[in-house]
C-alpha cells in the first residue's frame, strides 16, 4: 500500500460520507455535541434541583420522567452530556497521544526501548480490560478523575501497538532513509517523514475507540467507581435506575443516551476507515455509480 497523500484522502472522503450510516452517525454525533455545549440553554430544569414529584412517569413538564429524588431526567441527561462526552474525547485524545508516542518510539528506535514499551503493553493486554480498569479505579479511589485515569491505563496499549506496526513499515521506506541521508536528525525524521504517513489508520482507531471508552467510563460509574452523586453522569444514572426497576424511564433514557453516542461514533469510525482504505473507497464508488 502506498502512503496516503493528503490530497487523495480528501478526494475520497465525499463518497464514503454519503453512505446512510455515515450521515446518521454524523448527525447524531453533532447533535450530542450541540446538546452538551448548549445544555444550560436547552435543559428545562436544574439538573440537581429536587423540586419535581418523585418518580413521575414521562409527561408534560418532564418528558423523560423524574428520578427518585424528583430531578428531571431530561435535564440530567443533557447535563450528563457535558460530563461524559468531553471526558471521553479527552480520554481518547490522551490515550492516542500517549500510546502513539510510545508506539512510535518503539517502532522507530527499536531495540531495548521498543522491547520494553511493547512488553509493558502486553502486560496490560493480558488482563481483561474492564477488570483491570476496575482494579485501577478501585485502587486509586472512586472519583471521576480516577476513572478516567483507569481507562487511560487500559486504553493506551492498542494505540502503541498499532502505531509501532505502522512506523516499523514506514521506517524502511526510501524517503525516510533519504531524509536521514540529507542530514536530518532521527527526531525530525520521525516527526516529518514518518508520523504524517501513519496518522490515518490511527485516527480511525481513535474514532472507533470513542464508543468503547464511553462505555468503559460509564461502566465504571455504573459500578460506583466513577462519578459520585449528585453529579449527572449517565453511568451513575443508569445505576440509580436499577434500584427502582419499576420506573423504567429512570435507567432507560440515560442508557439510550450512551447507546446513541456509542453508535454514532462507531458509524463515524467506520466511515473514516472506508474513506481511508483505497479498496473500500473504490467499492463504494462503484456501488454509487
Amino acid at each position: 500500500m502506498r502512503p496516503h497523500s493528503g490530497i487523495r484522502v480528501l478526494s475520497r472522503l465525499p463518497e464514503a460520507w454519503r453512505q446512510p450510516l455515515a450521515v446518521v452517525g454524523g448527525v447524531v454525533a453533532v447533535a450530542w455535541l450541540l446538546i452538551a455545549a448548549a445544555a444550560p440553554l436547552l435543559a428545562p430544569h436544574d439538573p440537581l434541583a429536587q423540586d419535581l414529584p418523585r418518580l413521575a412517569s414521562p409527561g408534560p413538564g418532564h418528558w423523560f420522567g423524574t428520578d427518585q429524588l424528583g430531578r428531571d431526567i431530561l435535564s440530567r441527561i443533557m447535563y450528563g452530556a457535558r460530563v461524559s462526552i468531553p471526558l471521553t474525547l479527552l480520554l481518547v485524545v490522551l490515550s492516542l497521544l500517549i500510546g502513539g508516542a510510545l508506539g512510535a518510539c518503539a517502532g522507530y528506535f527499536g531495540r531495548w526501548v521498543g522491547e520494553g514499551i511493547m512488553r509493558l503493553a502486553d502486560l496490560v493486554f493480558a488482563f481483561p480490560t474492564v477488570i483491570l480498569a476496575m482494579v485501577v479505579a478501585a485502587a486509586l479511589g472512586a472519583s471521576l478523575t480516577n476513572a478516567v485515569l483507569a481507562v487511560l491505563i487500559v486504553a493506551w496499549p492498542s494505540y502503541a501497538r498499532v502505531t509501532r506496526g505502522l512506523v516499523l513499515g514506514m521506517r524502511e521506506r526510501e524517503f525516510v532513509l533519504s531524509g536521514r541521508l540529507l542530514g536530518f536528525s532521527a527526531w525530525r525524521s520521525l516527526r516529518v517523514d514518518v508520523l504524517p504517513n501513519v496518522t490515518g489508520p490511527i485516527l480511525v482507531l481513535a474514532t472507533l475507540d470513542i464508543g468503547t471508552a464511553l462505555l468503559l467510563l460509564s461502566g465504571l460509574s455504573f459500578l460506583g467507581l466513577g462519578a459520585k452523586p449528585p453529579s449527572a453522569e449517565w453511568g451513575a444514572m443508569v445505576a440509580s435506575g436499577v434500584e427502582v426497576f419499576d420506573s423504567w424511564w429512570v435507567a432507560t433514557f440515560p442508557g439510550l443516551a450512551i447507546l446513541t453516542v456509542v453508535l454514532a461514533f462507531n458509524f463515524l469510525g467506520d466511515t473514516l476507515r472506508d474513506a481511508l482504505d483505497p479498496r473500500t473507497a473504490r467499492a463504494i464508488k462503484e456501488r454509487a455509480l
Binding site: I7, R8, R173, E174, F175, L182, G183
Partner: protein, 283 residues
C-alpha cells in the same frame, strides 16, 4: 589517489557470522563518474550506503571511508548529520518511493538547504526554482508547489537529483538511479547526471547492474562479486579487455545482436539471503 573526493579503503562489513563486504577499495575523483557493477547481493548498495555512514543495526565495520580528511565511519551521529546532504548525497532507485508523498517538491528541496546552509525562506525558494531549472523540469516556478505524484517517473528522479544536489555536495551516490525508469527516460537522466558531473566537478558513484548504463556514462568501472571488488579500471579497458573471469562472464551474459543463443549462467550465489533489506539506523 591523493586527489580523490571520497575514498573507501578496505571496507569490511559483517552482520553476525556473515561477511557482506570483504575489503572494498574504491576511490572517487571529482568530475568523474565511477560505475559500480555486479550481481544482486554482491554488495553494491551496501558499499553505497556505507559511504554515507549508514550501516545496518548490529553490523561490525572495519576500514575507512574518507571524505574531506575525515573517516565517516568514526564520526559521531551529530557530525555525520552535518556531512550528509551537504558534502555527500544519495539518489535512490525508485523515485516513486524516495520522495515524501505529502510534502511539496519545494518543501523537500528547501528544507535541508535552510538546515545546512542557513538560507532564508525566500532565498531557498529561489535556489530551489533555479535547481529545478538545472535538472530541466519545465516551468520550475510552478513546479515547486506541486506534490511528487503530480510528476512522471523521470521527472521525479530529476527532482530527487535536484534535492540531492541542493546543498552543493562534492560526492553523489546514485544507487540504480535509472533502473525504475523506461529506456528513453533513462537516457535523459543519465545525460543529466553526466552533465552535472562535468559542470559541477561532482564525484559520482553510479551503482548499477546494467552494463549498458555503465558504458554510456562511466569514466571508471569497478566490478563487485561476493563483497569484493574483483576488477577496477578505466571503462574502456575493463569493458573491452576484462582481466577477471567474472567481468568477462558478465559481459558475455549481455544479449547482443538478435541471436538465438541464451545468455550464459554465472555460477555462484549471493552470500546472504534477503540481503537487500535496507539498513536500519538507531538513535
Amino acid at each position: 589517489m591523493t586527489s580523490s573526493a571520497l575514498s573507501v579503503e578496505d571496507l569490511r562489513v559483517s552482520i553476525g557470522e556473515q561477511e557482506i563486504l570483504r575489503g572494498v577499495d574504491i576511490a572517487l575523483a571529482p568530475g568523474r563518474v565511477h560505475g559500480l557493477a555486479g550481481e544482486s547481493g554482491s554488495g553494491k548498495t551496501m558499499t553505497g550506503l556505507a559511504a554515507l555512514g549508514l550501516l545496518p543495526h548490529g553490523s561490525r565495520t572495519a576500514g575507512r571511508v574518507t571524505l574531506g580528511g575525515r573517516n565517516l565511519l568514526d564520526l559521531p551521529q551529530r557530525e555525520l548529520n552535518k556531512v550528509r546532504g551537504r558534502e555527500i548525497a544519495m539518489v535512490f532507485q525508485d523515485p516513486a518511493t524516495s520522495l515524501h508523498p505529502m510534502l511539496t517538491i519545494g518543501r523537500q528541496l528547501t528544507e535541508h538547504m535552510r538546515h545546512h546552509l542557513g538560507l532564508g525562506r525566500a532565498e531557498a525558494r529561489a535556489r530551489a526554482i533555479d535547481l529545478l531549472g538545472q535538472v530541466r523540469i519545465p516551468g520550475p516556478a510552478a513546479a515547486v508547489d506541486r506534490y511528487p505524484h503530480q510528476f512522471s517517473g523521470g521527472m521525479r528522479q530529476r527532482v530527487a537529483i535536484a534535492i540531492a544536489l541542493a546543498c552543493g555536495p562534492k560526492v553523489l551516490i546514485a544507487d540504480e538511479p535509472t533502473t525504475a525508469l523506461d529506456v528513453t527516460v533513462q537516457a535523459g537522466v543519465l545525460r543529466l547526471l553526466r552533465g552535472l558531473c562535468d559542470d559541477l566537478g561532482l564525484a559520482v558513484l553510479l551503482v548499477t547492474h546494467d552494463l549498458g548504463v555503465m558504458s554510456a556514462v562511466a569514466d571508471d568501472v569497478s566490478v563487485m562479486k561476493d563483497g569484493l571488488v574483483v576488477e577496477t579500471g578505466p571503462r574502456g579497458r575493463v569493458l573491452r579487455e576484462p582481466d577477471h573471469p567474472y567481468t568477462r562472464a558478465l559481459l558475455d551474459a549481455l544479449p547482443r545482436e538478435p541471436s538465438a543463443a541464451r545468455p550464459g549462467v554465472i555460477p555462484g550465489t549471493p552470500p546472504v539471503e534477503g540481503f537487500d533489506a535496507l539498513p536500519k539506523e538507531g538513535s
